[in-house]
Amino acid sequence: MALNKTFSGFAYLNDGSLGTDTVKYQALFYPNGTASSPTTWNNVRITESSSYWNLNLGDADFLGQEGVALENAKIVIVFWTGNTSDRNSLCIGSSRLIEWGATEVTLTSSDVYTLDIQVKNNILPKLVWSFNNNGLVDASYVAINNSYDVHNWDFNGTSMHHYRTRYGENIQLINTIVESVYDWDDGTVDVLPGTTNGSHSWDTAGNYTVTIKVIDECSEYTIDTEIIQVKFNAPIPNILCYQAVANDILTPNTLVSFKYSGTDPDNRITKIDWVIEDQGNFGNTPTSIDGADKDDVAYHTKGKGTSWCGNPATPGAFTNPGDHTIRIVIYWNDGFNDLTITYTEIFKQRLFNGPHLSFTQDPLKALLNNEVEFTNTSTNTSRVGTGLPDCTEYDWLFKQEGQIVDEVADVSFNYKYKIIPDNVDAIIGLRAHWNDGWHNKTSYIEDNIIFDTTVTVTPEDCYYVLDIIGTSLDGTISGYSWEIYKDTTTSGVGPWDLIWESPVAIDQKVKKIGFTDVGYFKVIGYIYGGGTTSDDESLFIDEVCPVEAEEVIWDGTGLLDRPTDWTRLGYGREAEYARYSGTNGLDARGLHTKQIVFVHPTGVDIYNHESLTMYIKLYSSNPINDITVKMKTKSGTYSEELKLSNYIKLEEVNTWQRAIINIEDFGALDDVVSSIILTGHYASSIYLDNVYLSATKVFYKAVQVCGVDMVGTSAGAIHIEGDEVLPVVHTKDKEVLPVVQAKPIEPIITKTEKPTIKTKEEEPKLGKPKFPLPRLN
């Protein structure tokens, strides 16, 4: 079966009666986004005498038998009465619509749609608008007009409409507002097309009745009114101070004056009252002015101003510095009532600015014990001293190690301050005396003296003392560190390999180092703080120093000998002729079966050492009756008792021999050693000197310095004095120090053709150094 959907029903008139055969109708098919046939109007039809109407989508004048009408498509059926077959006729004239209406159906699966419809004559336009009830003179106000002439009603369950257009199609062109008329009640009437919004402003205050009339296509209209109360505009206050910049009066002791600078668009201000507040530590001097004209200038007639260093005060200027509240009361009329506005604004009386202190140092890098000159380079100094004789100017201070060591007071800007520092912990201070307009004030700065950075290398015994003097770039010192490089060639000019570096710490200023290899070395010292500084020294080592750290047990008690914790007891007599080195040795001739005893008060961990060394000269030889050595622990046990004949040659008499006894030879010990005992036997007779414990084995065991890993740890390090660190530096492929020689050793560092130690800028400091090594000679 082809397209076949029936729409039918009965048509009723405005009065509810059946329209018989007077109602014409025409239907619009709209696909509404479906794949139905396109938008189509059928032919105009007229109801039967029973007022019955009927149409079918499959009719040839509509979609036809080949048409497609899917669900959700729309059918708008338009009805009307009148002497016209054109649904778009007007509602005036002879061929006009009399009653009309339209209904709309959404297609479903149903084949039959039954609708009773009603046509109605013209309905008055719906007036929808809004307008202000309060306004101001010269301001424009808009009447929002949302009126319309499209109407809806329900008839026997059918929704009827006075549509003008639908789905882009003209339904009936009479359902529209053709113009809107605005009467603004001041003689102005605006006639605007359609529902155009109206707008209007009034040039004087008053109550106005605004009338709007919307007129439709049938010349019928709807009318409404609103009352708007229009007032004069209020003044917007503001205050001008002639002497202020952004509400700041920059210069003290300036006469101040004020003026009303706000708005008064409708000239409604009648008078202004003024209060200029001025309260503070220098007095309470407010100024009040009543009934001033808005154009009058208000002066602070009660202000006293300020004075300094004999400079006179200016009447009319603020008595006090800081914030000042200016309060005005504005009297005005809005066209209906007398009103007031209170307004305040704060103006700040600024102070004179102080100087920006600064100074320079000459030379830029000072040297200890040399004169340093300081120049005042301060700026903005006009308030310092103020140029008057009773005002103080500048003071200079010089501090070393936190203590003031020199000071000059009340000197001029051009004064040159000179001092001679003897300590790098040195500070220069500069103080300025000035006045801010009300108060005498001082400004002060201080800064560290900046010193040149210099590294010194001083040979001492079998090692070198490194020291660095100076400051960082800003004069401060936060830490020191060292680096040691070895020349990879024999030229003395590099390239250089970093073989050791110290940690960065404030206690790294002085270091003791020893070298275990020959060649050129470069020592660089750094000072940290506000900009790191450095200096370096180069030195040439041409003979390895067989340095041996030791704990001296006894080497005589004379002036050149060193005191120790050990005490010598037992047999023997100290005498200069019995010495190996230093002042005295021990004459133990006739030792026989007696003992020589060395006692330590708390005991020594013998395993911190590698060997026990002593120098012995046999006064007489007796191979049969040996001298023995043993150790006693603090807990009272004894070590193995060793014969000296295993360590020296008994047949060599009257010659100093060095006995080196490995600690391991004494066997296992269960406690720290508190005494060492030499026991003679019949005919034993000796001179004894320089008894010590050597600690060479730690030379190549230590891998850290002060808890920080060392570069080239094979170099090792050794502690020799308290917590001081003695790095032992040698090349990377050498891990063991040279064995200590058992023979007298000549000075270990010699200057060859090239200087052994050089500074960066001068010839070698050292000649041919000879370093005494008393314990080794």
């Binding site: 079966m1 076949n4 029936t6 039918s8 005498s49 079918n56 004048d61 038998q65």
Partner: protein
């Protein structure tokens, strides 16, 4: 004889030509009844062929169905005429008896009488519905 569609002299008289039964199945069904005059008598419960009363859908078909089976059996009956290329749509309980949409079962055309073929939409709940035509 059951005639469901066509032209011809078979319907030139009101009686004695033929008769038949039609089973109206649910949904749309195409029907033709070659009767020019007559109506269903709800008093005698049979067709009356009086040579006066024009046989239309309502008086000949619908009244028979409603007399036999009650209302609500048929929703609409449509015929599409070749001359007007329009539907005559008889909507049960809506279309007035006097409306042109209460179409005749036979039409006089210049070439003679024509039997109206029409679609009827059966919406009753118990199809088929048996109806008769002619002198049965």
């Amino acid at each position: 004889m059951i005639i469901t569609r066509g032209y011809g002299p078979c319907a030139t008289t009101s009686s004695g030509i033929g008769s038949g039964y039609i089973e109206l199945e649910g949904g749309w069904q195409l029907v033709a009844i070659p009767i020019k005059y007559g109506y269903w008598s709800v008093v005698d419960h049979k067709h009356v062929h009086d040579d006066v009363t024009l046989a239309k859908f309502e008086n000949y078909v619908l009244n028979q169905i409603e007399d036999k089976y009650g209302s609500g059996i048929i929703e609409v009956a449509n015929t599409f005429t070749g001359d007007a290329q329009m539907f005559y749509s008889y909507v049960v309980d809506v279309t007035p008896t006097g409306s042109i949409h209460n179409f005749k079962l036979m039409y006089e055309d210049t070439s003679g009488d024509e039997v109206t073929g029409f679609w009827v939409k059966v919406v009753g709940n118990s199809p088929p519905y048996l109806i008769s035509w002619g002198n049965i």
